[in-house]
Symmetry: C2
Subunit: 582 residues, 2 copies
C-alpha cells in the first residue's frame, strides 16, 4: 500500500544532495520511510524522487493501531472539541518522527564507514557527492548503527551551522545589531501525539488512565509560598567549559565537544551540541506537560568555529544546564543524571536507550505526582490558579519582550552611532589642537597638549561605550532572552491544564449520559487537582527562580553601569586636570 503524505512547509532542495523540493500543501508518496536521520524518501506528482525532511510532512495514512498498553478504553473522541490545538511543530512530525532512535532497532546493519552519506546536507567541511545519496536506491544505506557503532549515530546537522542564521553576535562589536530576540525558540514541542493509536490525545489519557503509575514519584508539599516541589538538600550545578574541536571521517566532518562537570561528582563528561539536543527532547517528552522545558540555544547561528560563536553557544548551554540543574524534578531525573554523570560509553549508551523507552512521558507524568498532605482542590480553585498563571506569564512575556526590544535598540545605539559620535568629538578636539599647534604663537603648548589629551579621552570613551554592552547589557539581555524562551513554553504547559479543566467540566454531562461512571468522574476531578498542584509547584519554582535571577542580573547590570560611568568620569577628570588654571 502506498503511503501518502502532505507537505506542511515549503522545502527547497539543496543541489547535489538528492533532496526533493516540495511546496506547502503538496501531496507526496513515501517511497522509503526508513532513510533515517530525520529524512524520508518521497516521490512527487511529477514522478521525481528525492529526500524530504520528516518534519516537513504529515503522513496521511494512519498507522496500524499498535497499543502501548496504557491507553484508556474510553471513547476519547468525546473530548475532541476541547483538545488544545497543538503547536505546528507538534503536528509536523511523522508517527516515528518523535523517536529518531526507532530506526536503529529495525536496521541494525550496514557499515559505519557509510554513515556520512546519510547526511542531509553538505556543510563547509565538504559536500557529499550526488551519487553517494543514491548508492543504495531503495536500499539506501542505513548508516545509523546500534551499540557497536561509534558516537556517530546522530545526524551531523545538529552540530552544523547554517549561514542563514539570524544571530550575528560576531558583528556586534562593529555596530552590527544582534538578533537577540530570535535566540531561543518561543515554544516547546509537547508530544501530544506521543501515543500511537490515538487519533488525538490529551490530558484525558491521564485523567482516565487505569494504569498504575510507573516511575519515580514526584511529591508536592505545602510550603510557605504554597505547593512546592521536593527540593534536594544539595543544590546541583554544573560547569560547561573547555570547548574542543574534534573531527571524524578523516577530517571531513568536525564538531565541538563541551566539557560538562557537575558539582556533585566534579568529574567531567563530554557532550556535543546534539547530545544536549537529545537531552532536551527527552526532557520535553517526559516533563513538558508539567514543566516548561526551555529550548536549547539556537542551532542556526553564523560563524561555526569562530571563537565568539563557540563562546556564546557555550555560555547559553551553561545557562540552560544551570537552569535544569536548579530544577528539583529535572535535576533528579534519571535521564538528567545520566547526562551529567555517566561513567563510561557503555553506561551512556545503556542509559540512553532506557531513557528513550521511558513510557511515563507526556501527560502521564502527572500520574507520578503525589500531593503530600494537601487537600483536593475543587475545579473552581484549579481554574482560578490556572487563569492566574496564564495571565501572569503572558504579562511577563510582554514585559520581557518589551525590555528585549528596548535593550536591542540600546545595544545598537551603544555599539553604533554613539561611539562614532564620541569618536568624532574626540577627532574634532584633536583636529583643533593640531590647527592651534600651527599658529606659530608662543605659549600654545599647554593648551594644545591638553586639547589633544581631551580628544584622545573622548576616543577612549567611544571605545568604552562600544564595549560596555558586552559587560552589562549582554547579561541583562541573556537573562531576559532565557525568560522569553521559558515563558514561550508556558502556553503549551498551561494549555494541557486548561484542556484538563474543560474535560472535568464535562464530567457531569458524561455521567448523566452514562458515558463515564460517577467514580470515574471523582477520579478525574482528583487528578485535575493533582495537576493543579504540579502547576502551582512549578509556578512557585518559577517565581522563586525569577526573583533570584532578576535580583542577580539587575545588581550585576547596575554594578557594571556604575563602574562604567565612574570610569568615564575618572577619565574626564584626568583630561580636565591637564588644562592650566588661569
Amino acid at each position: 500500500m502506498e503511503t501518502k503524505a502532505q507537505v506542511l512547509y515549503d522545502f527547497t532542495a539543496e543541489p547535489g544532495n538528492n533532496e526533493l523540493s516540495v511546496g506547502e500543501g503538496e501531496t507526496i508518496t513515501i517511497t522509503n520511510q526508513n532513510v533515517g536521520g530525520g529524512w524520508i524518501e518521497a516521490k512527487n506528482s511529477r514522478g521525481e524522487v528525492g529526500l524530504v525532511p520528516e518534519d516537513y510532512i504529515e503522513i496521511k495514512q494512519a498507522q496500524p493501531f499498535t497499543s502501548g498498553g496504557n491507553a484508556a478504553s474510553l471513547d476519547l473522541s468525546l473530548f475532541d472539541s476541547h483538545i488544545p490545538t497543538p503547536a505546528p511543530a507538534s503536528t509536523a512530525q511523522t508517527s516515528n518522527g518523535n523517536d529518531p532512535w526507532a530506526v536503529f532497532d529495525n536496521n541494525a546493519s550496514g557499515g559505519v564507514s557509510n554513515n556520512w552519506a546519510a547526511q542531509p546536507e553538505g556543510t563547509e567541511t565538504g559536500k557529499t557527492s550526488s551519487n553517494a545519496w543514491h548508492s543504495g536506491g531503495h536500499g539506501h544505506p542505513q548508516a545509523y548503527q546500534g551499540p557497536g557503532a561509534e558516537d556517530d549515530e546522530w545526524d551531523e546537522e545538529w552540530d552544523d551551522v547554517k549561514s542563514s542564521g539570524g544571530y550575528a553576535e560576531s558583528d556586534a562589536g562593529e555596530g552590527g545589531a544582534i538578533n537577540r530576540g530570535g535566540a531561543h525558540g518561543s515554544s516547546m514541542k509537547i508530544a501530544l501525539n506521543k501515543f500511537p493509536g490515538f487519533s488525538k490525545s490529551g490530558p484525558e489519557v491521564f485523567l482516565l488512565s487505569k494504569q498504575p503509575a510507573k516511575g519515580t514519584k514526584l511529591p508536592v508539599y505545602g510550603g510557605e509560598v504554597g505547593p512546592v516541589w521536593a527540593y534536594p538538600d544539595y543544590q546541583l550545578d554544573c560547569v560547561v567549559a573547555d570547548p574542543k574541536k574534534g573531527s571524524k571521517m578523516y577530517g571531513l566532518k568536525s564538531y565541538i565537544e563541551y566539557q560538562v562537570t557537575p558539582t556533585t561528582t566534579n568529574k567531567p563528561v563530554n557532550h556535543r551540541y546534539k547530545h544536549f539536543d537529545w537531552l532536551y527532547e527527552r526532557l520535553l517528552d517526559k516533563f513538558g506537560s508539567a514543566i516548561p522545558i526551555p529550548c536549547l540555544p539556537d542551532k542556526q547561528v553564523t560563524g561555526r568555529f569562530e571563537e565568539e560563536f563557540i563562546k556564546m553557544r557555550m555560555e547559553r548551554l551553561q545557562g540552560w544546564m544551570s537552569r535544569m540543574c536548579r530544577h528539583p524534578v529535572i535535576s533528579s531525573s534519571e535521564v538528567f543524571q545520566l547526562f551529567i554523570s555517566y561513567k563510561d560509553e557503555k553506561d551512556w549508551k545503556t542509559g540512553k536507550r532506557k531513557a528513550e523507552k521511558d513510557e511515563t512521558v507526556g501527560v502521564m507524568i502527572f500520574s507520578t505526582i503525589e500531593p503530600e498532605g494537601l487537600p483536593d482542590l475543587d475545579l473552581i480553585e484549579v481554574e482560578q490558579k490556572c487563569e492566574q498563571f496564564n495571565r501572569f506569564t503572558r504579562a511577563m512575556d510582554d514585559g520581557v519582550k518589551d525590555l528585549l526590544t528596548v535593550g536591542n535598540e540600546h545595544w545598537k545605539r551603544c555599539t553604533g552611532p554613539l561611539p562614532k559620535e564620541y569618536q568624532r568629538i574626540g577627532k574634532a578636539f584633536q583636529n583643533l589642537s593640531s590647527v592651534f599647534t600651527s599658529s606659530g604663537y608662543e605659549g600654545e603648548a599647554a593648551l594644545t597638549d591638553a586639547l589633544t589629551a581631551a580628544g584622545k579621552t573622548y576616543e577612549d570613551i567611544a571605545q568604552m561605550v562600544a564595549e560596555q554592552p558586552k559587560k552589562d547589557l549582554h547579561f541583562l539581555m541573556e537573562t531576559n532572552n532565557e525568560y522569553k524562551g521559558l515563558l514561550g513554553c508556558f502556553p503549551d504547559t498551561i494549555g494541557v491544564h486548561k484542556a484538563a479543566i474543560e474535560k472535568v467540566k464535562e464530567a457531569d454531562k458524561l455521567v448523566a449520559t452514562s458515558k463515564i461512571t460517577p467514580s470515574e468522574k471523582t477520579t478525574m476531578s482528583k487528578r485535575a487537582s493533582t495537576m493543579s498542584y504540579a502547576l502551582q509547584a512549578e509556578m512557585n519554582h518559577f517565581h522563586s527562580n525569577r526573583i533570584y535571577d532578576y535580583n542577580r542580573v539587575m545588581q550585576q547590570y547596575l554594578e557594571q553601569q556604575v563602574k562604567f560611568y565612574e570610569m568615564i568620569a575618572e577619565k574626564l577628570r584626568h583630561a580636565h586636570s591637564q588644562f592650566t588654571t588661569m
Copy 2:
C-alpha cells in the same frame, strides 16, 4: 534728471505696506530718495510705485563728486585689477546707505507722532495702514527727527523678530535641533566704498594718502610674542543684564532694553538691540579694515518675547560686549566708551553724531597706527605674515565648523533619541516590576521596589541627559560659534592687507613709468609695513584670547561632563544598593 538704480537682490513686497516687489537685475527709477529709514521710493518699468529697501539696490548714476578732503589725487584706476572684491553686502549700499543719519540733518522737520508710519514693515504689534504710507506722496513724511525727537529715530525692525529665523532654541528641550551654525553672520561688511567720489576704493587710499593722520594714535609695541597693541592696565568688562520690555506708541510697538554696566564706572546705561547694532556699524566702519569686528547675534530669531530668546540674545550680546571690552583698541575708542558710559541723553546724542561724522574710517584707520621702535618690514616679511595668518584662520575656521557640526549632532542626540531610550529602559524596568507585583507570590516586594527604583533612576537619567547639553555643550557651542563669527571676518580683513601688498608690488612699475615718485613708493612700502604690524598685533591679540577662551571653555565643559557622569554613577549606585544581596 532721473535717477536710475539697479536691483541687486530679489525683494518681495509685504502686502499693505506700499512696498514694491522687485527682482534682481531689474532697473528701477528712484522717485524719492529721501524716504528715510533705509527705504527709497521707486517706480518700475510698469509704472508701479512703491518702497524698496535701499540696501537692495545700487544707484546707477554717479553722485556728483563731493570730496571729503582726504582723497588722494592719484589716478587710482591703476589699481583696479587688484582691488579686493568687496562682500556682496558692501556693494548693496547706496551712496547714503552707509549713513542712516544723513537724512536727519536734511529733514529736521515733521512731527514725532508720525514717525511710526515710516516703518517699512508691519510687525506682530500692528500693521500700518496702506494709506499711511502715501499720506505724503513725494512729501512722504520724514519721520526721523533730530535731537528733539525721542529715541524712536531708529527703524523698529531692528528689534523685530521674523518668524522665518533659522534659530529655534526654544525647540531644543524637546529634541529639536538648534541651528547653531547660523547663529552669527560669517562676514563683516567692510565699508570699502565709504568715500563718495571714488568709483572704487581700497588700501591705496591709505597707502598714498597725503593727509595727516587724524584721531587717537594706536601704538604697536614689540612684545614677547611679537608686535602687540597697547594694552590698558585695567581690563575693562561690562555686564549685560536686566532685560526690560518697554513700549511706545501707546503699546503699539514694544521692545527690549538691556542694562549695560561697565566695570569701570559701575553705572548702568540702557540700550536696545538697535543701539548695539549702531555701535557695531560704527566699529565696523572705523576699525573693520584692521580689526575683525564680529557680527552681533542674529536679528532673525523666533519667539520675540519668549524668555529663552531674550536670555539667549542677552547672553550673546554679553559675549559680544565682553569681546569688545577685551580688545585694547576697541575698548578704548571714543565711540565704545560713549556707548558704555554716556552720562545722559544729551551726551549720548552728541557723541552719536560725532561718531557718525568720524572721518578716520575704513583703511584710514591704518594712518593712526604707530609701530613703536619696530623696524620697517620688507614686503616679503609682510606677505609671509599675511599668508600665515590667512592659512591659520582658514584652518581654524574649518576646525571650528567641524566641531560645531559634531556638537550639533551630539546636541540632537542628547536631547532627542538618547533620553527617549533611557526613558524607555526606565519604563521597561518599571513595567516588569509591576508585572512582578501581580504574581501573587510572597516575598516579591524587595525585588519589585528595587526594580521600580531602578526604572525611575533611568527616567531620571533620561532627564539629566536631555538637560546636560545646556550645562556644558551649550558653552562649547557658543564659544565656537563666536569664533566662527570672528573667523568669518578675517577674509575681509586679510583681503585689505593682501590688496595693499599687491599695490606695493606694483610700485616699481609705477615709478618706472613715472606714475608715482620714488618717495611715494617708499611711503607705500613703509605704510604696508605699518599695516602688517597692525595685523600682527591683531593676530597676537586673537591668539592670546583664543588660548584663554579655549582653555576656559574646555575646562568648563570637562568639569561639567565629570559632574554629569559622576551624578549618573551616584544615582545608579543608589539604585544598585536597593537590591538585596543574596
